[in-house]
Symmetry: C2
Subunit: 500 residues, 2 copies
Amino acid sequence: MTAVRPHVIPSRRRFDAIVIGSGSGGLTVAVGLGRFGRDALLIEREHMGGDCTNTGCIPSKTLLHQTAALAAGSGADPRSILAGVRAHRDALRDHEVQEFGGADGVTFVYGSGPLNSDRSVSITRGDGTVWRAAADNVVLATGSSPRRLDVPGFDDGGGDGDGNGDRVVLTNEELFELSTPPTHLAIIGAGAIGLEMALAFRRLGSAVTVVELANQVLPGVLPEAAGIVAGALVEHGIVIRTGVRVAGYRSDGGRLELAPTSPAAANNGGSIPVDSVDRVLVAVGRVPNTSGLGLVEAGVELDDRGAVVVDGRGRTSSKGVWAVGDMTNKGGTTHDAAIRGRRIIQSIVQPYLPIGDEPLRPTVTFTDPEVASIGDQPASPPADVVRITVDGAGIDRSYTDGVDRGILVVDVRPPTGTVLGATIVGPRAGEIITTFSLAMKAGIAFHRWYGTVIPYPTYSEVITKAVQQYLSEVGSDVTGHTVRWATGLLGRTRARLSRT
Amino acid sequence: MTAVRPHVIPSRRRFDAIVIGSGSGGLTVAVGLGRFGRDALLIEREHMGGDCTNTGCIPSKTLLHQTAALAAGSGADPRSILAGVRAHRDALRDHEVQEFGGADGVTFVYGSGPLNSDRSVSITRGDGTVWRAAADNVVLATGSSPRRLDVPGFDDGGGDGDGNGDRVVLTNEELFELSTPPTHLAIIGAGAIGLEMALAFRRLGSAVTVVELANQVLPGVLPEAAGIVAGALVEHGIVIRTGVRVAGYRSDGGRLELAPTSPAAANNGGSIPVDSVDRVLVAVGRVPNTSGLGLVEAGVELDDRGAVVVDGRGRTSSKGVWAVGDMTNKGGTTHDAAIRGRRIIQSIVQPYLPIGDEPLRPTVTFTDPEVASIGDQPASPPADVVRITVDGAGIDRSYTDGVDRGILVVDVRPPTGTVLGATIVGPRAGEIITTFSLAMKAGIAFHRWYGTVIPYPTYSEVITKAVQQYLSEVGSDVTGHTVRWATGLLGRTRARLSRT
């Protein structure tokens, strides 16, 4: 707990809104409502900033940045890096408490407690006192917790969330408390968290083994893109085992037992041991933080996963109760929770205005290379969709920078040119996806991207290649001078022809 | 000269097009016409690929990448880096000769010679033989050369273009032939070439002094953006002197004499010596390569700078004669020449189709931080333009990565929301500008950018901040629900509020 200014509930105990949880979604709603002259009570159980500031984006990206410098030869001490990441995170948290906790219209309190059916909230404070506040609107933004695995042998070393860093089995909630890199870190789950931390700890000097149930890393990402990342991580010295489940752990010898998921492989030898594992990071998904809040009693519908069911405005099944972020059935990254938080603000302040389409959901995994994706891309595209694949290693900036792998995959539906989705693997992919995010939101047909001047030599040049290739492939199906002409002109030129 | 396959002019001496010069513009036209079933004679005086491949983008970006790794602690030997850059460049050049020299419909020859008034060209080959070929179209793409300075003392050490690397005074044509970093490199001209090479050679261990006539680096770039780059370069240990001209050089002691350009400063002490300069890089602009081509005799109009005057299609004043790239009055980077080359192809192949607006001209300087700009941004915007300035250091990715400077400046004209120009300084600015390039070309009003989901935490988040700030500033002037609503909602939130 960091030093904070004391916050007290003012004498008036009724608010325009009560916001439970001060992560990306809750902060956006509370501070945004304050800007509209509404008053919001913002309740935080533990640390302002939620998962992102405390155990997610901020420490993980700081660690990735610091370890990239280490890998490049900075000569920093791994223990100092880990301590520095904590200090950096704590400084930001303190800053956020000062800035947002005292924002106009926001009353910020530490505490927790259930929602009552009359849209009041009973708040148990750190000193045991219970306060009660009521509001016209209650916004649930309690986030999610790492899913824990029920594996024989994990009990002894299970992360208990006390952050003391002495446990063998950790989640992202304990990982950043480590004072020393593990000798051999096993990471269960090859999603974004798993792969980013695999890279970071490998750079810190740990042996790293990544274990994934699915048959590829980054399940849900196009296999060809995921394969490129996996190849890069293997070159970093990370061991990746896909298509296996974790069967057990023995602290004696640090043996993690894996079992193949395919029956054929399972019959052919049984379990696979991974030895000398002194730390295990469990990164196998998230569980919505929806228990203990009295939601069912208050008439708030939950889905099978226990997530709060919301509509496009963030409304729950209980009138005046809203929800945002990864405690809802819409899930949510930091940026997704922020944009959906704004939709809640609009719906409260200007309920009669149209809310617009559901926001797009770009995601980025900050490995090296980065992976960015947006929209819907099934492993095999439907028959009426043209899938364009560009080799990122073939552009000139990749040549100057010695980048030998990368890909852009764009799905487009002709003849309208609607861009359905895109996946990028390569340096700076997380920035390049923004062009797709804007253009897809604005509905710019992919053939209209032709003629966009992209500076040479940048990594964004993959976009030019993709547009040219698309024009080539659909030329005969699309009506219109420009497209047909441009198709003939550009589509069949080879990848290295033009330098734009 | 690299090893190449022999190319001979076939027996038929009449072509659909003769293209003089094989840089970005010429290559695009010749190979593109070939793809349309036209036959093009492509003539190159020296090295395929033009300035970009041989003495520009490719070696400079390779050197920047290698020296960034050196600065990060790669431990590489500076002499090996310089030799490696040459080898890397030569390999690409060989590749281009093989790929494009043998492209469908392209006949590639080494040689040079004047244009005749009947659209024939006399080509003097390396062995002294002269060939003559004629065509329906002649495309001039001879590029430009570095402007040389007439400074007392430069004669002795002037770069003579023979690439032997023993001269004191160099241009980009000789710079990459250096086998050893200078002890003290003075760079005259603080444009893109000057600043990029200042950073690269500083990282190689040279003392570097940059000298600029104007009162800021990167003349033409917004002063506030240029100031950020200058500050960063100074922190790298580079000495920058603006508002001075070069008055002389004495090889004895390596003294470069500078004179202030302002009368007040000049009266107050006269010249400023910079001592122990063993190499001078002259990077003060380009001169179009238009002499010796018989252009005036062939009826091709030149402007005061000696550049070929062309229209939006690339037509010169002489029928059937076209020109592209930095030998024209449109100037041209690599990407600009490529896109204008395509306009020439369209005009030759499909002359009756509309050509569309002049292409936008984004530019990037690949320093650390990068500088990217697009459109027209006067130092002070007109009264009807809203200038939005976002502090790049204030976004969360800058926090995790320890980036303490950066800026985004966007000029927008309300109420239409037309984006007139943008300048970005920061990591990856060269990629982020692509979103502006696409959106400006597609004419997406800036208020329509609102709601674009930008992944957290990326550097592109500056765009979200800029849109929010714009909506705040113009809210009362713009008609339309969304803008007025969003203005109230978002505009007044502080920079760190939302995480999108």
